[in-house]
Symmetry: C5
Amino acid sequence: MIVDCAIYEEGVRRDGKVELAHAYHDRHEPGTFVWIGLYEATAEEFDSLKREFELHPLAVEDAIHAHQRPKLEVYGDMVFLVLKTARYVDPTEVIQLGEVLVFIGADYVITVRHGEASSLGPVREALDADPGRLRHGPGAVLHAILDLIVDDYQPAIEGLEKDIEEVEEELFSGERTNPAERIYRLQREVLSFRKATAPLVDPIERLARGHYELIHPEIRDYFRDVNDHLIRARDQLDAMRDLLSGSLQANLAQVGVRQNEDMRRISAWVAIIAVPTAIAGIYGMNFKHMPELRWELGYPGAVLAMLLICALLYRYFKKVGWL
Amino acid sequence: MIVDCAIYEEGVRRDGKVELAHAYHDRHEPGTFVWIGLYEATAEEFDSLKREFELHPLAVEDAIHAHQRPKLEVYGDMVFLVLKTARYVDPTEVIQLGEVLVFIGADYVITVRHGEASSLGPVREALDADPGRLRHGPGAVLHAILDLIVDDYQPAIEGLEKDIEEVEEELFSGERTNPAERIYRLQREVLSFRKATAPLVDPIERLARGHYELIHPEIRDYFRDVNDHLIRARDQLDAMRDLLSGSLQANLAQVGVRQNEDMRRISAWVAIIAVPTAIAGIYGMNFKHMPELRWELGYPGAVLAMLLICALLYRYFKKVGWL
Amino acid sequence: MIVDCAIYEEGVRRDGKVELAHAYHDRHEPGTFVWIGLYEATAEEFDSLKREFELHPLAVEDAIHAHQRPKLEVYGDMVFLVLKTARYVDPTEVIQLGEVLVFIGADYVITVRHGEASSLGPVREALDADPGRLRHGPGAVLHAILDLIVDDYQPAIEGLEKDIEEVEEELFSGERTNPAERIYRLQREVLSFRKATAPLVDPIERLARGHYELIHPEIRDYFRDVNDHLIRARDQLDAMRDLLSGSLQANLAQVGVRQNEDMRRISAWVAIIAVPTAIAGIYGMNFKHMPELRWELGYPGAVLAMLLICALLYRYFKKVGWL
Amino acid sequence: MIVDCAIYEEGVRRDGKVELAHAYHDRHEPGTFVWIGLYEATAEEFDSLKREFELHPLAVEDAIHAHQRPKLEVYGDMVFLVLKTARYVDPTEVIQLGEVLVFIGADYVITVRHGEASSLGPVREALDADPGRLRHGPGAVLHAILDLIVDDYQPAIEGLEKDIEEVEEELFSGERTNPAERIYRLQREVLSFRKATAPLVDPIERLARGHYELIHPEIRDYFRDVNDHLIRARDQLDAMRDLLSGSLQANLAQVGVRQNEDMRRISAWVAIIAVPTAIAGIYGMNFKHMPELRWELGYPGAVLAMLLICALLYRYFKKVGWL
Amino acid sequence: MIVDCAIYEEGVRRDGKVELAHAYHDRHEPGTFVWIGLYEATAEEFDSLKREFELHPLAVEDAIHAHQRPKLEVYGDMVFLVLKTARYVDPTEVIQLGEVLVFIGADYVITVRHGEASSLGPVREALDADPGRLRHGPGAVLHAILDLIVDDYQPAIEGLEKDIEEVEEELFSGERTNPAERIYRLQREVLSFRKATAPLVDPIERLARGHYELIHPEIRDYFRDVNDHLIRARDQLDAMRDLLSGSLQANLAQVGVRQNEDMRRISAWVAIIAVPTAIAGIYGMNFKHMPELRWELGYPGAVLAMLLICALLYRYFKKVGWL
């Protein structure tokens, strides 16, 4: 589905709706480029684009099927990028990954969104308001898209960080919860998030270093800035992985310690009940000559002794922390 | 065993059965190459090929004995590849690895399959239908084989992923299963699968970068595409390894937690039975002066009291979650 | 907030308060440079600096928002550094990280402090007293700042090391503490501290190797010296991480061993109380012909036997270390 | 001890016993080289060799004392290799490492064996039968030695692999064994075996790449082939290390699960014996008015009830898998 | 404190005590160099050396304060090395690290020892006896020092290895020890020892490769030899780290298994005492009609039955290995 089609002349967007045919034609004029946006496009929808822009069939295939790893490929004069968008979904504590694929040439940008990928609307609006930057051509659009996507990683990472803090609190709260599953699932999210970000660091580095002519020298620093944020995200995810792996281990200790506490508590109660049982057993013996048995106060005395011993044991176990 | 022998002229397969002798002779004509397919060939069967194509004895030895690690070797003008095929076998949850060895020269391709290696039939058929690609010579055949083999990794990986999901479910289901063995065996499969794929990444990178003249420049991008899928497979296997190692740890916590639950449940029952035993002990004492013993309702009262206490304890333990 | 503004002429600071406007003007004279210090400056406060020194907008943005990873960026003739300061806060055992950002050009140094960053006052004073060094220009100031910040890592690391020693003592003290939480939190601090230091090693290496003309050859060795301390800090943090991970594992063993000890102690007491109960049960049997029951000394004898057995068991369990 | 001394002329071994003095003299003739074999030679035995071949004193010292790590050193025109041989010793499940040291020059090969190093006899015999290869000079001898040693790694690795399989079977057999010690000892063997093989990969790579003139270009491919086997061995050992570390973890889970099973079984028996005890306690109470006590069938009824309850509990525990 | 001051002329040490002033003067003669040895020198003691040899202030500062990481620095024509000495101290099982700092120039060597650093006396004596080597100048001295220090690593490593073997024996001895603390402390020593050795590998490699003119080409091989021993030490320490980490894990299994054994033993005794208690309870019931109670042999029969059952249970538990 073609979502948008725009012509930029000297950095300014031409007003009104633009037909694809016009875009194809006018892009060849100097200082002009087109930006065509698609959403989960089919092979048929791609057909005319493929012919007009001479897109490489492998890149087109990737753009249609998605589920690629993040990457940057160069096909002749065209650069093709696969980007992953990330969104934190709270109740289920998962990172929802989407995909944005970008074809970029001397006078065109084609973007294809897949799945839950964040809309690129804000990018267009921000760019439309800044013709100075757009004058640097399609590279400026690429930067704006990368910037949006990488900036969107931060709230997702913060969502995970908050989860990890909750898990830590749960872990050491003294309550009898077992956050093993939650830790494991967070680990899983962190791993898949990392796989979606880390492979981009090298390609963006190359963009920033000026390996590709498509990127105007004036905006290379901006790609370095994006990469900085990307590296920060990757490092945060790495640290999370280490933390979560440490918390799985700490959880084992907590489970062990709690079992120990339970065992002591149980044992204390067993002791409290065993003593009167033993005393009762003694006075249940059938010896002929047991003077206590004849005492008027024998029975209440025995019961009192039992209660007293129970109370003393209770206090003792309280004191040593077993109860 | 020689399975197939074909001559390709300008990308088109010559009709009818082709004798080896013709293949040897005609391959020298311009725009022509032969593809000879073998299955678990013996040294004798290789003899004539070895002489005709001047195959290096070390490569031939590898091709006969198989059980090599994946690799790409260059012997003079000839390139020799060892590839591993993978197939997921469901009931036993194992990855069955086969081996395909490819000799490739300016005007010939020799393929040798070993073990459960996927048949290369589909490759032939797909290629026969696409003479345009075959015009690029033996390199196109190599690409098609690599493409098939690497694409076949994906269902095998998905099989393992499904197993891992099942293990996760089992792990956190609350049921008293111990998936340690299953996790361990999956880890083993993941490790051996990874060993079969990862060493190929560098060689294919070199194929894509144009290090070898055998690969026509027009199809280099296709090798990059194959490598992309291979890297994706490798990364998935790496992530699985991390996940499985995390799940072994989570399993330890689950085992500990379950033991704790059992201990509490057992202790609760011990308490429920210990109290009436203690009471019975008390009324079993032989004191002369125990007024309750003479009461008409002493006995039913005592039993009632026992039942009541048991019921109260039961309710209490239910409430605190020990039962 | 502009905290300080100074003009250095041939390494000597000009007396009295200096207006920004003078600084802007006089810095162009040979042998002269200015040092402007800011604290959590806003975009407005930066405005005039940005225009005068032609600071790159991305660097300015970083300087205003802070929360960057440590890095060194080159924008044209200007070098921009992000540094992390570290301070150990004892009662809570955390490492408080601050941020110092440095813009450095041929004739100016601009420093921006954020958060709990250590004041740069001592740097100024030390430098003012050493005009010889300041004659080497802004690079000397950069070195002095780096030196102060990296030297301040050492007490923070020592704080953590003392904590780790305490944890070790606790771990193996035989007392029934569970330092899992403390170990985990220390691990967290070590990880975040490491993230604040390690990424600087490469950039400072480049400073020391003379990649940047801003750094006078005479003071390059000093940067190497700073890097040496930085690498030492990083290695110490790495070793701590390994130690803490080992201590989490040792803690598991300690927890297990303590549980075992508890179980034995409990079991010993159960045995001590079970034996008299069994004896009492035997003499509570209602057989007609039990000669002991008629003996005058039957009862005291039985009680004595019980006490004796208890005492013997107690001594035995003491001897084998269960009590 | 000098074990063998041979002169090869145009690849053919000269018949009869050869004196050292002749060997020294004749080696200078074109197409001729000598191979001198020693076993745990002393400094005295080395003396004449050292003078004749101008062996570097450091290499000689290494050859006498052995216990080196595997390495390749170049001293002027001479190449010196330290190789480790490995043999699996079954009853004790250890890898016995020996050492072979090789000095190689333009017209000589000196081999020194230490410890349990496999005899080089088979190498000599194989070479003597293949003059074509020996025509390539001492490099061919080096290849043959390397080939033998590296090929001998495979049975040793298979021995370890069989042990690991046995450990796995033991681990998951349901029997109550604790293979922790065996796993640990295997880990130890794998680690020391790996240390004996991995450092050779880079030097042999350099031999294969033609860094040394001593190696005739025609036989470089053969070194690549050896390296391939070496890398395979190293990768297998790496995989074993991962597997053993995983099996230590799985063993922890097994130990925990078995403890749980024991606890349940024990608890079930406690329950089965506790119920009749409680019933007996009740009928042991001394209430005046307990009608059951007077029933003719009271006693057998009570005993029957006890047995019945025990049987029911037994069946129940069987069903839920606690017994 | 200046410990020694010697002048070497053509490799021969000048007899008698040498004054610093003479040393300063005579070192400029061809074929002559001085070696000055210090022990924990203060800044004042260094003053004259610093002026005479134009030592870089940063190196001097390092030499006075020590506690550096091992490193090699080049300051103009002077090379500065920080070396760590290691000594195994048995009763406490710690590695005592000392420090030796070496300044080396065209005609001087200055050595500074700190802490428990092994005396350099043996180096001097060995060198004095070998003028041939000393003719290669200060580099020969450096090699002799390095050689002594690195050779001294071996007994320290063997000390640790013996400890590890003891720990292994303890671990799997079946005795009820918990070597967790000892393992942890050994891990700590291994880590700090490794930090003291590994960073030297690269600098010595550079010395061996001839990066520094100070090292005479004839003795470069000797540095390679030293590095070989250093790498061996580092690899041994790495293997130890892996082994100790594996033994911590194995210890967890041992702790778990022992707990299990205890639990079974305890449970067996509980069973042995529970059965007579239950029987006694049964014959303690007050049923009117219990024929056994009237039998003459009832009581001894019951007691005998109890003993018999206990004996049978004991034998059974012995047989199944619970006792």
